[in-house]
């Protein structure tokens, strides 16, 4: 095998694909082969072993989990370099025809969780309309299209919005850890929150047809469809390159690729590829990945990542 093989997250996929394409166009190495398997699926393939049959790089829209790291170790994939490539904001957006809306995480939790706190009690979510959640919100039915649990975007949403949103309610705070987690993280299933499949673009297209519906998807899709959609303001911040990069916008997450060190020097072009990926031309603020919707890292962070790539410092076991 002479081509690099890359698997992993569907969120990272378009960015990796862009690098792959550029790499194929501008170097004499054969273009790497890229396959979108989802973060977890990618980890599974990546950690299955060392050798020509196993991928060299996997993309992830979240950090590697401890269990995955262990699996890697068990299968002889002992040295893995963790490389952050940038940030991805998660947009909560709706049709341009809809009203302006300004939400807090607590309100989002109230609107989307299966069980919520009402008057100090934990009850099944009674809210049918936004105005039920907070009278200041529009009097429109709650209808949110979001990613299925199999997607990294969903994980991030739960972690960044739901988990923090619920913290503001004392009755929730006082729950036992396990119960609290369940209450905080479980999305409602009565039709107000709709799991709309892995295909973010389809969510975008459906929002166009239904002005009351909101969608949860990667920021890049919002960016590309600004003529039809607008992003809701979360905690007073509208999603944009700037607010995400600066960390102001509260729902954003880092994106990673993982490199199998053992393959460097065996699979041609591997190191060159990763170097290109985190190079200024790609991952820089003005790089072509930014054109694709990736929120670039601040310069000093990028420099650190470039350093890691240069030395191929293997990662340590993650905490969780």
């Amino acid at each position: 095998r002479q081509q690099i093989r890359i698997v992993g997250s569907s969120t990272v996929f378009p960015f990796t694909a862009t690098v792959v394409e550029r790499f194929g166009q501008t170097t004499s190495f054969p273009a790497p082969i890229l396959e979108s398997t989802g973060t977890g699926g990618g980890m599974r393939l990546f950690c299955a072993g060392v050798g020509a049959d196993h991928p060299d790089i996997t993309g992830a829209s979240r950090a590697m989990k401890a269990s995955e790291f262990d699996q890697c170790q068990k299968n002889g994939v002992e040295e893995v370099t963790e490389i952050q490539i940038g940030f991805d904001g998660i947009a909560f957006a709706h049709s341009k025809a809809g009203p302006e809306i300004n939400l807090t995480k607590a309100q989002l939790w109230q609107a989307l969780a299966k069980e919520v706190e009402v008057n100090g009690q934990i009850v099944p979510n009674p809210h049918k309309r936004w105005s039920d959640v907070d009278p200041s919100l529009p009097n429109a039915p709650i209808e949110v299209l979001g990613p299925p649990p199999t997607s990294g975007t969903r994980d991030a949403w739960v972690e960044l919005v739901m988990d923090t949103g619920c913290e503001e309610y004392p009755a929730v705070k006082s729950l036992a850890a396990a119960r609290k987690k369940a209450v905080c993280q479980t999305m409602r299933e009565d039709g107000a929150f709709i799991e709309a499949g892995e295909n973010d673009n389809l969510i975008v297209q459906r929002l166009e047809q239904n002005k009351d519906a909101y969608g949860i998807f990667g920021f890049s899709y919002l960016e590309e469809n600004l003529d039809k959609l607008k992003g809701a303001t979360i905690a007073g911040v509208t999603p944009s390159f700037e607010t995400i990069a600066s960390g102001e916008y509260p729902i954003s997450r880092p994106l990673f690729i993982y490199l199998k060190n053992a393959h460097v020097g065996v699979i041609p072009g591997l190191k060159e590829f990763v170097t290109e990926y985190v190079g200024e031309r790609a991952a820089g603020e003005d790089g072509y990945l930014a054109d694709k919707g990736l929120v670039a890292m601040p310069a000093e962070r990028l420099a650190k990542v470039q350093e890691t790539v240069k030395s191929l410092t293997p990662m340590a076991k993650p905490a969780s």
């Binding site: 002479q2 977890g40 950690c47 072993g49 020509a52 499949g197 892995e198 459906r206 053992a262």
Partner: protein, 488 residues
């Protein structure tokens, strides 16, 4: 000697064998071809088979075994120093320590399986002359091994060539001795051909065994996490929450009932569309339509069956679902934008040709004598159709219906795109539901965990699906067979 060349030469020998066998047969017949048991061509084929087939089988066998053997020999033959040099360049310091400790005694054995793999990639690349792809630091160290590798490959190639030639020539000589006027060449050749046919038909069985085994193996592991009863009778399906450490075992997370009901619901909607449309179309085409109309409409309808399901998925979600929703809202109904109705309707459209084509066939299979009997009594066409033809064709139509249902149950892409993932236990077609196939696709293409009940559950679902379609098919087959007996 490359395998390709060996195979080519074998084929050539086989061809020569054909010619030899043929001319030998003509020779032994003494010019009276009719005195031979078989036509000379069969003696030729007989010779060709014996010259070619055993050797080709050997080549196939060899192809499987050659690589591992050569690799083992090469690795064992490497000097400790070169292994060490390679290890220093390629391995991480921690691994290196372990390796260098052992390397003095048993070079290759010191390496773990994964390191061997890497080393072999390098050696193979070098043996193939692609030094450019190998770390320059190890090129020199690996040169002897690469040469060894190439040498072994050469030897292997020649030896397989030699053995093949021996087999082929042996076959030629043997068959030449056998050829006599009374020798039943045709019967022998035919026996080989028929065995080949048998082998082909066994592939269908192997496929089934393969499916059942690969599903069963993973399912059994799944049932180690989740009891069968819970899976089959549980009312709650939410595989995602169960992977979080604090929720494993929370009861009902793997209850597949909502998936079954969802599948049923969508299939029911689909059949509610497909059955009347399909059946009535079939009746019209078979009994009323002029020949010309029939021969254009039928293929047009069949296009519906050929359209890729991805396309239907788009159609469902971007065209039909909004229409359904708007209509529902106008009527004051609460319609989910992922309604089972939209997915079902589109699936129904897709299935129409299955029902219409199959029904058309069974309606045509109703003997003309029954129609004549009915017309002869003064029945109109529709009376004949409703009271004689349909009852007579009913078993066949039921068969078609069952096959269409199994198609609906197994359909994936439409529901993946249009039906969503919400495992609601409901029979309301306006609500969102999910199906077994959606879950399989989602569980296996999405975020997977190792060895988790979540991933494995996909295989259990696949197993259920397999058995459901099996039962439906056996029933359909029985029904159709019963029907067949009646008129044949």
């Amino acid at each position: 000697m490359s395998i390709q060349l060996t195979v080519a030469i074998l084929l050539l020998l086989s061809a020569i064998g054909f010619w030899m066998g043929r001319s030998r047969a003509v020779a032994v017949s003494g010019g009276r071809i009719a005195s031979l048991h078989s036509v000379p061509g069969y003696y030729g084929s007989f010779t060709a088979i014996w010259a070619g087939l055993p050797a080709l089988l050997l080549v196939l066998f060899w192809l499987v075994l050659q690589a591992p053997v050569i690799e083992m020999l090469v690795l064992n033959g490497m000097s400790p120093e070169s292994v060490l040099t390679w290890a220093q360049a390629a391995l991480a310091p921690t691994e290196l320590e372990r390796v260098s400790g052992l390397v003095a005694s048993q070079a290759a054995d010191a390496l773990g399986e994964t390191q061997r793999q890497l080393l072999l990639i390098n050696i193979r690349n070098m043996a193939a002359g692609q030094e450019a792809y190998v770390n320059p630091a190890v090129v020199e160290a690996l040169r002897p091994a690469a040469a060894h590798y190439a040498e072994l490959e050469r030897i292997a190639g020649w030896s397989v060539f030699a053995v093949c030639m021996a087999l082929a020539v042996g076959g030629l000589l043997l068959t030449r001795r056998l050829i006599a006027p009374r020798f039943r060449a045709r019967n022998n050749v035919e026996r080989v051909v028929i065995w080949a046919l048998v082998v082909c038909s066994i592939i269908a069985i192997l496929t089934t065994i393969g499916i059942v085994l690969s599903l069963l193996y993973e399912s059994v592991r799944f049932f180690a996490y989740v009891p069968v009863t819970e899976f089959l009778f549980g009312l709650h399906w939410s595989p995602q929450t169960a992977i979080r450490a604090d929720q494993v075992g929370s009861s009902g997370a793997f209850g597949a009932i909502p998936l079954f009901t969802g599948t049923l619901l969508i299939s029911a909607v689909a059949m509610a569309v497909a059955l009347p449309v399909g059946l009535l179309s079939a009746i019209y085409l078979a009994e009323y339509a002029p020949r010309r109309v029939r021969s254009t409409v039928k293929p047009v309808l069949e296009i519906l069956a050929g359209i890729p399901t991805v396309v239907y998925g788009f159609f469902a979600i971007l065209t039909v679902a909004p229409v359904v929703r708007t209509l529902g809202l106008d009527l004051g109904l609460d319609v989910s934008s992922n309604s089972a109705l939209a997915a079902g309707v589109v699936m129904g459209i897709m299935i129409v040709p299955f029902i219409s084509s199959l029904s058309d066939d069974v309606i045509n299979a109703v003997p003309q004598s029954l129609r004549d009997g009915s017309y002869g009594l003064g029945a109109t066409r529709s009376e004949t159709i409703r009271q004689v033809i349909l009852p007579a064709a009913l078993p066949g139509i039921v068969g078609a219906f069952l096959l269409a249902i199994s198609r609906a149950i197994g359909e994936t892409m439409i529901v993946v795109m249009a039906a969503g993932m919400a495992a609601n236990l409901t029979f309301n077609p306006l609500a969102a539901v999910t199906t077994v196939t959606v879950q399989i696709a989602a569980l296996l293409t999405g975020d997977q965990e190792f060895e988790s009940a979540k991933t494995l559950s996909a295989f259990a679902l696949g197993l259920v699906l397999f058995f459901v379609t099996l039962v439906l098919n056996v029933v359909a087959l029985r029904v159709v067979q019963k029907y067949r007996e009646k008129y044949d």
